[in-house]
Structures are given as C-alpha cells and as structure tokens.
Amino acid sequence: MIYFDNAATSFPKPRNVLNEVTKCITKYCGNPGRSSHRLALSAADKIFETRILIADLLGYNKCENVIFTPNATYALNLVIKGIISKKCHCIISDLEHNSVIRPLNKALTKYGGDLSVFNTDIPLSDAIVPLIRDDTYAIISTLCSNVTGKIIDINELSAIANKYNLKLILDASQYIGHRKLNLKDIYFTALCSAGHKSLFGIQGSAFTIINDYGLFDTLTEGGSGVDSFSPNMPILLPERYEAGTLSTPAIASLGAGIEFLNKTKIDKIEKKIGYMTMLIKNQLSSMPYVTLYGADNGIISFNVGDYNSSYVSDFLDKQGFATRSGYHCAPLIHKKLGTTERGAVRISLSYFNEEKEIYSLFKTLKYINQYAK
C-alpha cells in the first residue's frame, strides 16, 4: 500500500517512535504524577521532557502551559468551551474543521451568541476587520486547511487579534511539522494541535498551549495527583486541565516524533513536501478531466470527470493507494468549492513519501482520466 492519507494520520512512523513506544510499555510505563516509585517518576520525567520538546519546537518559553489531550478535537473543545463562556460574537475562517465548528456552535448556542465566517481568498485584514463588532470576542482559525492545504498567515492573524483585543484560538494540526512555527512575540490565546499527524506521534497524542491564562473553566474533572482533599481541580497548569491518567506511551511517541523532526530539520521536510506537492499539482493540472481544488503544504484535493470522490478513492485503494474521499469534516470549504454533492479526493503527503510513489499514482490517475468525461 502506498500511503497518501497523512493529513488524517501519518504512516509510517519513524523508527525511533516505534522504539520509544516499545521502551515505554516495557520499561517505564508507571502512572505519571500519581506515585513516587521509580516507574511512575520515569513516566513523569518523559512527559515533562516532551512538554519541553514541544515548547522548544515552537519557540515558547513556558513548558507548563503545554497541556496534553487525547486528540486535537479534545484540545479545541477544552479551549473553545472554556474561553467562550458568555454571550458573544466569534469569527472563524471558511476552512474550519468540525472540531472547531461543533464545539463553537455548542458554546455559542448555550449563551445565545453568534458567529461570522471570513473569506480566506482575500487579504486577511480585508476579510476579518469588517466582521468585527462591539461584541466580537474571539477569532478561531486553522493555520492550514485540511482540504486544500491553504496556509493562513499567523503573523497577520495575530496582529489583527491583538489590535482589536480579541482572543485568538489557533488550530495548527496540519501546520506544525511541515512548516516552522515560532510563537515568540506572537499574540495568541491558545494553540491546539494533533500529535499523530506531521509530528509523528501515535494516535492519542495531542496538545494545546494555553498562553493567555485566565483560569477558564475545565472540561473534565478528576484525579490530578495533587490537592486531593479539594473538590475542585487545581488552579495551576498543566494539572488543571489534565484530569485522569495521561497516555504516557502516546506522549512518549510524540516526544520521539519531535526528536525525529529536530534531527531531520523542518526546513528539509518543508522543501521535500513542497517539491512533491508542486509535482502533483503540475501533473494533475495537465490532466484534462481533473478538477484541482487546492495544492499546498502536502495537501492536494481534486476530482476526476464527474465521478464521485468515493468511487475514485475506492478505485485507488484497489490499486494500492490510500487517499481520502468525502468532505474531510470541513463543510464550509466544500460548500465554497461546490463539492457538497460528491466531495473531493484528497492526497496528503508525509516526509516518508517518495517521488517514485507519486509517479506510480500518476499512472493510475491517467488511467482513470481516460475514462472520465
């Protein structure tokens, strides 16, 4: 199988990630932050080490503000439902995933608020500023579309939010690992990311960095390893938002994934992904029956003739290629692209994809294209 579904979850993982997970499960997987025996402290050490790796990767200086969550959806639920705690107006991009749209809809419905959607095809200031009202409280945006790969400029977004004194919640799940991100001097409230995509952790690894700490409400409550006689969660980060046992193997894998990135260098990864994206974009553009919707940052979406995206993706699967059809949990961009009837086929790359795999895919796509109309 040639795997082109890395925006869903990356596969394969680097060898050092597999080794670390095995080592964790067999050598040091005590309960982190609960007991004080050697296994528990070793697990806690690994978790702390991973907080530092994440903070260092992003040029952020407070590792205790790195909160581990089971997935990016959970991280977004935590910060959106925590921060949106009154009647207000929010602004989101037209690229958002349901992991933003659904928790935000729930929070706004609860308090009677509403939202506006900004158009990512025009300069950000032209798109966002006219939408800002007196009751606008937050901007919530992805940094990279999971459908078209379109990148949103964090510096510009941050400057707008700062100027108008708005909370800024960022979803970096498709961005970190393929592009460099330095949060030093960047105004933001919280940044959320999956760990199992381009950071090469296993599923179950994700995090949020809570920058503007205003003691917002918790999403879950339970054991924290401290303040046992208090009926409330502790006020200190990260324990406040990490109720229950953390997944040490998942977090250890994320740490190993970041070590792989540090060793390989993100510049090199960005260059390789950029080259392969351009190669696919150019080839697809030359096929007469292919409609290309977007190609950037290793994410390419298209349709062939009038075929349904599921038909094409299933055909590719039978030929040994893993792609993703449908709507990619991103309804706004599919409405905008006019693909609500048949979705789109998505190819998503990782550093481990090779040029020869792409040429192999082209052969099959050319075959499909012959029969398209």
Partner: protein, 73 residues
C-alpha cells in the same frame, strides 16, 4: 547527610525545579511529601543537601518557580 525539603504544588513544578537546580549544579531528588506534612492532600517536593538550601531557594525565586513551605528532614 542532612537534607532539606522544598515543597512544590505539582509534579510539573517539581520537575521544572529539579531541572532548573540541576542547570545551576544543585542535585535534587523529586519526592512525594509525607502525608502528615503535605497540605490539602498529595503534594510533591524536592530533597536537596541542607547546605544547598539557601542557594536553591534563591534560584527558584529568580526563575519564578513557586515553592511552598519547607521542612528540614
């Protein structure tokens, strides 16, 4: 060897304190505070040589690491 204990509110702060002190050449050991000494339930701390105590407290303060009551062992 006579040791001192500095209490810290969470294990993450404990880890941070241990790493910070280590960077300044002070060895420490992360421990769980005895239940009869901890406040409001489980609590962590770091055990250091008693002679390092004042330097350790200064370093923690300089690095804005919040520490709690300390008790000589």
């Amino acid at each position: 060897m006579k040791t001192s204990i500095i209490t810290l509110k969470t294990i993450t702060i404990g880890m941070k304190a241990k790493k910070t002190l280590s960077a300044h050449g002070i060895k420490s050991r992360l421990i769980k505070i005895d239940t009869n000494q901890s406040q409001n339930g489980c609590q962590y701390g770091i055990e250091i040589k008693a002679t390092d105590f004042y330097d350790a407290v200064r370093i923690l303060r300089e690095n804005e690491i919040e520490y709690g009551v300390y008790k000589p062992k």
